[in-house]
Symmetry: D2
Subunit: 250 residues, 4 copies
């Protein structure tokens, strides 16, 4: 996977930590924002992809207009400090596009975003501890398209700990399991199908650590984009997402 692919990607990041300069070293590790680093990593692995970025401050609609979403094969989402500031109408629109066939990749604290909890239907709560612990990301099946070609484990020197219990529905697939120096465990890479859309959640990545520069994390995200992209799929829109009332035929 993560081969050449003409996929249309939108990387969305609330961008609030960058704006607030919090932590104060964020501009050193993410001079173009986390979205910039993520987009850069995708471009490395998917040179034919068309990658754009948007943030909470983008206008109109946080950069997620009907036109942008209709032109997006896979949407990546990073959010943390401003979940509540995301407009409900935009969340509804993104939700509709995922069900219609747009891929969605939730990143790190996006576990608590409106769109992710809307897609999964549960709390998505977890245990956390931010002490810069070493995280090891293990593949349960190294041949899974998202894990293929990725180091096993991926070693991340410093990360926020995310631990079980993770309040999510039983995933379709558990691709990655992480362990932390403190002993905790987390289902750090899980997949779901929602409507026609493919959903991947990947927990590594935090505003305090340069995780989105990590070459193996970048490969996972590129693989995730290729996996969530369904070339040739006819996206469902409008009434096509609703009930039908067929006549008696047989």
């Amino acid at each position: 996977m993560s081969s050449d692919s003409q996929v249309r990607v939108t990387v969305w990041n609330e961008g609030v930590h960058e704006e607030r300069n919090h932590p104060e070293w964020i501009r050193e590790i993410y001079p173009r924002g986390m979205h910039g680093a993520i987009a850069e990593g995708l471009a490395e692995h998917l040179p034919q992809a068309r990658v754009r970025t948007a943030t909470l401050a983008s206008t109109p609609d946080h950069g997620l207009t009907e036109e942008v979403l209709a032109d997006t094969d896979v949407l990546l989402w990073w959010g943390h400090a401003a979940h509540e500031q995301v407009d409900d109408a935009v969340v509804e629109r993104v939700h509709r596009h995922v069900l219609g066939g747009m891929g969605f990749i939730g990143l790190h604290s996006a576990h608590y975003s409106k769109i992710f909890t809307r897609l999964l239907g549960t709390t998505c709560s977890l245990a956390w501890r931010n002490e810069g612990e070493r995280e090891l990301v293990w593949a349960t099946d190294p041949s899974h398209p998202i894990a293929r070609g990725v180091a096993n484990p991926v070693v991340i020197d410093k990360q926020e700990m995310y631990g079980e219990p993770f309040g999510i529905p039983n995933p379709d697939e558990v691709v990655f399991l992480s362990t932390f120096a403190g002993g905790e465990v987390f289902r750090s890479g899980v997949t779901y199908r929602r409507g026609q859309g493919r959903v991947f959640y990947f927990s590594p990545g935090d505003q305090e650590y340069p995780v989105y520069h990590h070459p193996e994390v970048r490969k996972v995200l590129a693989n995730g984009v290729v996996w969530a992209h369904q070339p040739g799929l006819e996206r469902l829109t409008g009434d096509a997402l609703g009930c039908t009332n067929p006549a008696r035929r047989f």
Copy 2:
């Protein structure tokens, strides 16, 4: 299953078809409302259960106050004509109680209710045709607790057809599959776990046909209640549903 059990059940029905006398024969087949017939069926099979009912018009809060839900082990839900009139705060409350451990059984057109789509995260759309067709309800595994002791198939002489594609996430279990005289098929009995709560959806049951008097349908619902009830479970409330921040221990 469906043995004696001191379970606390609340049967919720919007009650709008009954109020509007629509169809005009509804008071003949459901003189005490569909909720009345459902409650009667549960009482037959679960004589030690404590069964109450509530409707959209119940006050306050459609009869679903914090106190009622905290005192409910399993909630059954029938809705069709008035999904939008259900207060969002009540939906949020029911959702929270399911994640905390209350069982939930969605009935027939509840597939489109706010609470069901909130729990599942998808459109939950389907194909339908109301021509009073014969429905056969088959168990994929007759030993499943919800199917045990139930005729296989259950023969329902007249029912609205509900057909695939059914826009739901991949169920944890497909307990029943229905076929219709017109040839269609439907995953008519599916289960999910959401948080600590067990969710069962069962499609037979419509305001135009006396399905909730059918002895086998009544047995399915009683089995469903016993299955969704988790005696001894500590219900989670408030902060216990959120994230935790453990200190480093190991």
Copy 3:
């Protein structure tokens, strides 16, 4: 799917019905055997595929030597009258190749083959009735790669009825559900992952009816081949399928 693909396919058919001329019209509907008709259908949809066939009588090893399997991306399997005559060593070999990453498509009465029950671990028993009933094959999700571009439903005028309960493990995906004129239902298209291999079972297809000439059935099988094929996957062999004993690294 079912686009151009340089996949290496082996269609295995026990070939016993053809040899015994049973039913007596089998040579009319399958002059080159069922395997011949299946291979022909695949070649139509996948012109760049390399499709070969083999039967129980093929020598050596029913045509399924180590060399043939190592050179096969996807194996299709039809068997009915001679399951017991398949050599256990060949079954073990096929099993090993599936776990190593070869795709496997079980057809119709292959539900009872040694290799299929070995892969699934259950009885795989079902209900059956051979009266040439109309079968309707419905997609639960028409956008699934195996269902894409296929009529929904596929109408098969005459088929043997296969019905629930089907003694299989909970599938990873239920792609197709069939209904029959007699009212029964069957999970007629199901997928599993086993080791690195992708497994698809598709029930339509019987020695008495010309099902493998049905254009929609041919499209399903071609889609199934493309789905089960994992280009770029490194097949695991020998010790790579066993346990490992890593040194302490972290």
Copy 4:
């Protein structure tokens, strides 16, 4: 769970390490064998259970005759050094009883037993390292019947490391995830339904460490027995496990 229950349990242990006095301290930690310690733990939590034990050397049939199995609700299985010495006919018999409704709990190196790989259909291979590392056993959902009332995590001071990738089919439920001092991770508690039988695999437990004396491990096993037991289930035997040929009814 793990409350009073009149369940009939058989604890099977090959008993070879005990017989060979290997490791040489095994008789100190397991004076009545691992099966003895396991049975003792079950009796503590399930005083009304009837627990018996059997070993490879038991006669006839390693103690697993048709009569014993028909009289067993849940079978626990420990094996390591002598998988190949288990008679194939006995494996077939146990397999048949599980599909008919007997619960099965595989313990530690039983991952490689004939019966476990027969039930799952895959290699069941894993990574291992025996250096007496600390294992932490985390519940993904502490309200699961098998995890209820169990410390989270269970801390096991010294254990053999079992790590991913674990060559199993996608489990119905992942109840426990273990981390090890060396950083590895393992799906240490997984459930499957196979036919009418419930299957639970739990990895902690090794001949070199006194794990089956650990109070929390004992509680997990008792919970597992109660979970795998299906009171009132009609066990299927003989032809009832095979195909049926219903007449046309509808």
